[in-house]
Amino acid sequence: MAVMTESAPRRRPLDLNISWTDVGPFLALAALLVVGYLINPDFLSATNLANVITRSAFIAIIAVGATFVISSGGLDLSVGSMAAFITGITIMFMNAVAPHAGIWAIPAGMAVAILVGLLCGLANGLIVTVGRIEPFIATLGTMGIFRALITYLTDGGTIPIDRSLREAYRPVYFGTVAGVPVPILISIAVAAVASFILYKMKYGRKCAAVGANEDVARYSGISVIRTRTVAYIVQGVCVAIAAICYVPRLGAATPTTGQLWELQVITAVVIGGTALRGGKGHVWGTVAGAVILELIANLMVLSDFVSEYLVAAVQGVIIIIAMLIQRFSNSK
């Protein structure tokens, strides 16, 4: 994330005005860290920060995909249910293959996860673009479908991963490389690839153009259908990557897996500086947004002066304040 603040000044002078949007989420993040430290010094302990940032990885990875969808003028409410569905399919596949393939069931299962994610994203994309259904309604529909499917697959209970795979798979969530938890590395990698696509490749510009003004984009010869569909596919793949990191944490899929993730994801994207109505996407801001959300929840537990009944209200207030800090820095 530090990389981003350094790279901002290197942009063309034309971009200087909007670079505040890039910095805003990080200002809010910094403010939150300071406030957190004042409330409870344990907040900045290495273990706590590692825990919290690792936890935010699922939302961060999915939200990077959502940055594509929202930037292109779409919306995806199905991501939480999709994550649960992919988790379920992945575990069932791994369990089925494990007796024959042993540890190889894990990479095979990961490949299946990506494939399923891709197909789910494609389905969402086609319903929205070719079917010409409002993204809100279309993905509300698939949200119900994915949730019902995972409930059906689990019989309302849980699908636990095979014991023989449990220990081998654990490091994908609990492991570290050079002291950095693996999920953090994965989310940084996902964000890096995404920012390359969004800022350096032609597709990224198409995405922002379609989101900013559909008609103008169409007149400029951009295929709106293709651009939006690809955004949903990217979203599906991101959900699959998040699911791959999620499985080893509790080693099970349940009908409540990923519940309300869609709202956290959308909040992270918006805190990150991407407008809900579409246009330019802010990948690193989105990642900061996801971390901010998780830090707020963490702070609620570490501080003693919020009644357990009021936690959600205080979280809401902090999110609004974080947005105001960002808006304030925007208008400078």
Binding site: N51, G156, G157, T158, F174, L250, T254, T256, A297, E308
Partner: protein, 316 residues
């Protein structure tokens, strides 16, 4: 999965055969329960279907029909559908909400049907011929008693509670009333919505906040799974006890295996629906009087009696 389809087909078949059943003077018992949307309700569906299968096989002149509904409104419609086509001799219902279901159930009672209500009581208690429920206060009380005993009456405890409901409040109240006057101290208590993921996060935060914790109580087993994973990750050795509640098969298995951190379990077992169905049948054909209120206790499940509460085939 297949068994559910089979039962669905059987239910449909049963409905089609309704007219014939009446001709043969079969006693019809309708069972209306919530659809499986999380572990505990999945257990309810499993045990209701198991009871229906066993009773239909054992008593040729009794027919048990199980109907699941995904919401209170749909449960009301289901009651109308069940009672429209034939006369019900008995209705066993686990209502979604007491307020919304009281009137519809009363309408069925007025047709002369025996009413058994499970878990959540109706707002008008006179509608219920038999009311059967678990004891949520005892869930808290018995867990607390065990902790006091095991920790020698003193220690630091963190608590994870579920969703703001009567069920959750009663469990917490039972726990807090019991530890009053002992040196057991509740360091923190927060909501984790009966969800493993939220419990995992909350436990990580508790571990970061408190350098010393003697025991954890998650008042539901889904949450306990998240707690155990967080404790395992932290590598901390100060936590002596991590207890849950409800009777999930994975946790009961731990008790059977003599797990050091989770040596006991307190049941609020979904199998109570089965108890209720059997009692209703006893009243209907065995002429065994059952009218009244039955409160199943929440006795500690220990290694000695765990087998009684272990259902390896149940989804919960």
């Amino acid at each position: 999965m297949f068994s559910r389809k089979w039962i669905a087909a059987a239910t449909l078949g049963a409905l089609l055969l309704a007219g014939q059943a009446m001709a043969q003077d079969k006693k019809v018992i309708a069972v209306s329960i919530p659809a499986a949307d999380h572990g505990w309700t999945a257990g309810i569906v499993y045990h209701a279907q198991a009871a229906a299968k066993e009773i239909n096989a054992a008593f040729p002149n009794v027919e048990v029909v199980v109907k699941t509904s995904p919401s209170a409104a749909e449960q009301v419609s289901a009651l109308e559908d069940l009672s429209a086509s034939r006369k019900l001799d008995a209705l066993v219902i686990l209502p979604y909400s007491s307020e919304e279901l009281t009137q519809p159930v009363k309408a069925i009672k007025d047709m002369g049907t025996f009413i058994t209500v499970v878990d959540r009581g109706l707002t008008d208690a006179s509608v219920q011929d038999l009311y059967l429920a678990g004891d949520n206060i005892a869930v808290g009380t018995n867990t607390a008693k065990f902790m006091i005993d095991k920790l020698g009456g003193k220690g630091d405890v963190v608590v994870l509670r579920g969703i703001p409901t009567v069920i959750d409040d009663e469990r917490i109240k039972g726990f807090q009333d019991t530890i009053k006057g002992t040196n057991l101290k509740v360091l923190d208590i927060q909501y984790a919505h009966w969800n493993s993921d939220e419990a995992f996060k909350l436990m990580q935060d508790y571990l970061a906040k408190y350098p010393h914790i003697d025991a954890v109580w998650a008042n539901d087993d889904d949450m306990l799974l998240g707690v155990l994973e967080a404790v395992k990750q932290s590598g901390r050795t100060d936590i002596k006890l991590a207890l849950g509640g409800n009777g999930m098969k994975d946790i009961v298995k731990k008790v059977i295996d003599g797990d050091a951190m989770t040596p006991v379990e307190t049941p609020y077992p979904p199998s109570m629906i089965k108890t209720a169905i059997y009692m209703t049948v006893a009243n209907l054909i065995g002429q065994a009087p059952v009218r009244g209120t039955v409160k199943l206790d929440a006795p500690l499940i220990t290694q000695a009696n765990a087998k009684e509460y272990y259902f390896p085939d149940s989804p919960f």
